[in-house]
């Protein structure tokens, strides 16, 4: 579900660059010094990216994670377990947990039946908990990143292009939101935002928790992007191709969306690549401290909360979600660096 979009997103912007590169002077500059056959910046980026082995490997790892998350229902159907059933209470698995409600068997009860072991006390399957948890986290992180990128781009474009008073006040508002202590704000506003939808006497449904988490994180997530876009727009606004478009009577919307926007896709994409893992960590943070998702929703962050409580007795429970998250964040960071290098080979690592 999600992985093809990620890839398409990249190629789509490449295609966008290709179209615009033919028409405007701004993108031509890059080409002139490169070579005579005239490859578009997008093609150049792709060639460089293909040569970067770290980048390709991390892209594959990231894709793998997205594929697993997207196919979680299929995988769990084939695997024959789900994240909700308390297998310790099923008659088929009499010896799953020992007398202390700890998993029987090596390394948290790893077996052919339960690949990543079972959860202490409740006896749920760790493997499906993890893939469903990743599904929740990745899906929410994608939505959140998308919202933040769109908001940031719109505010940055408006501020950068119109300048003057509009820019001044948008800048002040951005600075104001930047001075909030994010995480404390998230914790503090979760009950308030939840109260928007649910009366205080009712139980909060899971999807509303998800909406509340996204709303709260969105609120303080767009400022970095807005600043980046604004500064990029400022540097493009006075360029010749924009002037030319203005002189030829192009409407404002065309100048902003067709002339300027395609030229700042690169920094937006790079920043977006860095934003996604931090969105995942933010959501995991909320569930970890206990204001995000609650039982029995499978969630990556919540597994850490359970794992930390049980660590002294069953360290293996934390192992799989932890290693998965480290690999994912690492791959994403490396991918971000590679994308940046491919777009702009001048910044050395």
């Amino acid at each position: 579900m999600t992985s093809p979009i990620e890839i398409e997103g990249e190629t789509a912007s490449v295609a966008l660059d290709k179209e615009t590169a033919a028409g405007n002077d701004g993108a031509d500059k890059d080409q002139d010094k490169k070579e005579l056959t005239g490859r578009s910046p997008g093609q150049l980026m792709w060639t460089r990216f293909k040569r970067d082995r770290t980048g390709m490997i991390s892209a594959c790892v990231v894709l793998f994670f997205f594929a697993v998350a997207a196919l979680a229902p299929v995988i769990s159907a084939v695997y024959g377990k789900n994240p909700y059933t308390l297998y310790a209470q099923e008659p088929d698995y009499p010896f799953l947990l020992d007398d202390f409600a700890m998993p029987n068997g090596p390394f948290g009860g790893v077996s052919g039946e339960f690949w990543f072991g079972v959860e202490p006390n409740l006896g749920r399957d760790v493997f499906t908990m993890l893939i469903y948890g990743m599904r929740t986290s990745l899906f929410m992180a994608l939505v959140l990143t998308f919202l933040c990128v769109v908001t940031g781009v719109i505010i940055g474009l408006i501020g950068g292009y119109f300048g003057g008073k509009v820019d001044y006040w948008l800048g002040r508002i951005t600075d104001f939101f930047l001075s909030f202590p994010n995480q404390l704000f998230f914790i503090a506003f979760m009950p308030v935002v939840t109260a928007l939808f649910v009366s205080p006497t009712d139980e909060t449904p899971t999807y509303l928790r998800a909406v509340a988490i996204i709303l709260v994180s969105w609120f303080l997530g767009w400022m970095g992007m807005a600043r980046l876009v604004r500064s990029s727009v400022l540097s493009l606004r006075e360029r010749e191709f924009v002037e030319a478009a203005k002189v030829s009577g192009a409407p404002r919307s065309r100048i902003v969306f067709k002339e300027i926007l395609p030229n700042i896709v690169t920094p937006i994409l790079v920043q977006g690549t860095y934003m996604l893992p931090s969105a995942i960590l933010n959501i995991a943070f909320l569930s970890y401290v206990g204001v995000g998702f609650v039982e029995p929703t499978p969630d990556w962050g919540r597994m850490f909360a359970t794992g930390a409580k049980l660590y002294e007795l069953d360290p293996a429970f934390m192992f799989f979600p932890g290693v998965a998250m480290v690999i994912f964040v690492l791959a994403f960071n490396l991918l971000g660096d590679s994308v940046r290098d491919a777009f702009d080979p001048k910044t050395g690592r």
Partner: protein
């Protein structure tokens, strides 16, 4: 310099007022019934009435806001008694003044934040400089690789592992606990050793990468090349020319990371079961003790602003253009 400081302080006061107003209005206008929300499920009408009276919810919102702001500056009276100057209201669960609960928990968070900050700045910038100095050698590769991997770790994953190694299996250290600095500085440091180490590891890794890349960028600058061409000693060029230039971006990023640092302290508190500001915020959020939640949030904002002013001062000290502008 003094003028610069005054300007920054005035700005901070304005921002603080705005954050206060913004938070206040969101907290008091979004929920349809503030008192019912904080009272929770199975709320008896008597409790509801008490909460309403305590909060002064019968008054118009502007009066409430005025009372709240006056309370912060001059203190105010509640049915439970007089609340002294920085008054952030009364918690309805414990009946304590919000300010007192915060001040009670704050030393722990402060120790974590400042201790962690000092450790990761020294280690991170140190190893970043080292890697840039020995660029391309195996030492550089080892440092860069390790910092890349470590920066992808999370406090809540690394913390239990460290606890498992040093406390549960080997017993070399005791479980982290907080002893006030004034009671016993040695016990204070020993008790917070693991939390500091875990928190600082992740930030150290990030700052190593950053320090290394900014240093390498600076070393390619033309004035650095000129200095080298003049035949200046390598060490002099490295510290007086390149290091000086890379301080500004590092301090800028540090200023932006401050709220992340506070968040790191919050996660660290949870990982090691320490009762600081973060625990207070989450507990109050879960029990819907809104005055306390709001108080912690405002206090956090204040703390970040204060640290930001310190960062700005460092900025002005490093870069003369800032204080003259």
């Amino acid at each position: 310099m003094l003028q610069f400081l005054i300007r920054r302080l005035t700005g901070a006061v304005v921002i603080m007022f705005l954050i206060g107003a913004f938070t206040f209005f969101l907290f008091y206008t979004i929920p349809q019934d503030f008192a019912a929300l904080s009272c929770g499920k199975n709320c008896s009408p008597e409790n509801l009435a008490v909460i309403r009276e305590n909060l002064g919810l019968d008054k118009p919102i502007w009066t409430q806001f005025w009372d709240f702001m006056v309370g912060i500056v001059a203190g105010r009276d509640f049915p439970v008694g007089h609340c002294d100057a920085p008054c952030l209201g009364v918690s309805f669960h414990t009946g304590d003044f919000v300010w007192d609960s915060i001040i009670d928990r704050f030393p722990l968070t402060l120790s974590l934040t400042v201790g962690g900050l000092v450790i990761f700045l020294v280690l991170g910038l140190g190893s970043g400089l080292l890697a840039a100095w020995k660029r391309g050698t195996s030492l550089d590769k080892a440092v860069s690789g390790a910092s890349m991997v470590l920066s992808s770790f999370q406090i809540y994953f690394l913390g239990p592992i460290v606890l498992g190694i040093f406390v549960y299996s080997t017993g070399w250290l005791e479980s982290p606990k907080y002893v006030p600095f004034s009671d016993d500085p040695a016990a204070w440091a020993l008790g917070l050793l693991i939390p500091w180490a875990v928190m600082a590891t992740i930030f150290t890794a990030q700052y190593t990468r950053m320090a290394r890349s900014t240093m390498i960028e600076q070393l390619q600058e033309e004035h650095v090349r000129t200095a080298r061409a003049k035949g200046m000693r390598q060490r002099y060029v490295f510290f007086r020319y390149a290091w000086r230039g890379s301080l500004t971006p590092i301090v800028t990023i540090l200023g932006m990371d401050l709220s992340g640092l506070l968040a790191g302290a919050v996660v660290t508190e949870f990982t090691f079961d320490l009762a600081g500001i973060g625990r207070l915020a989450v507990d109050s959020s879960l029990t819907k003790d809104l005055p306390l939640t709001m108080g912690v949030m405002l206090f956090g904002a204040f703390f970040i602003l204060l640290l930001n002013i310190l960062v700005d001062l460092a900025y002005a000290y490093i870069d003369p253009r800032v204080r003259l502008a």
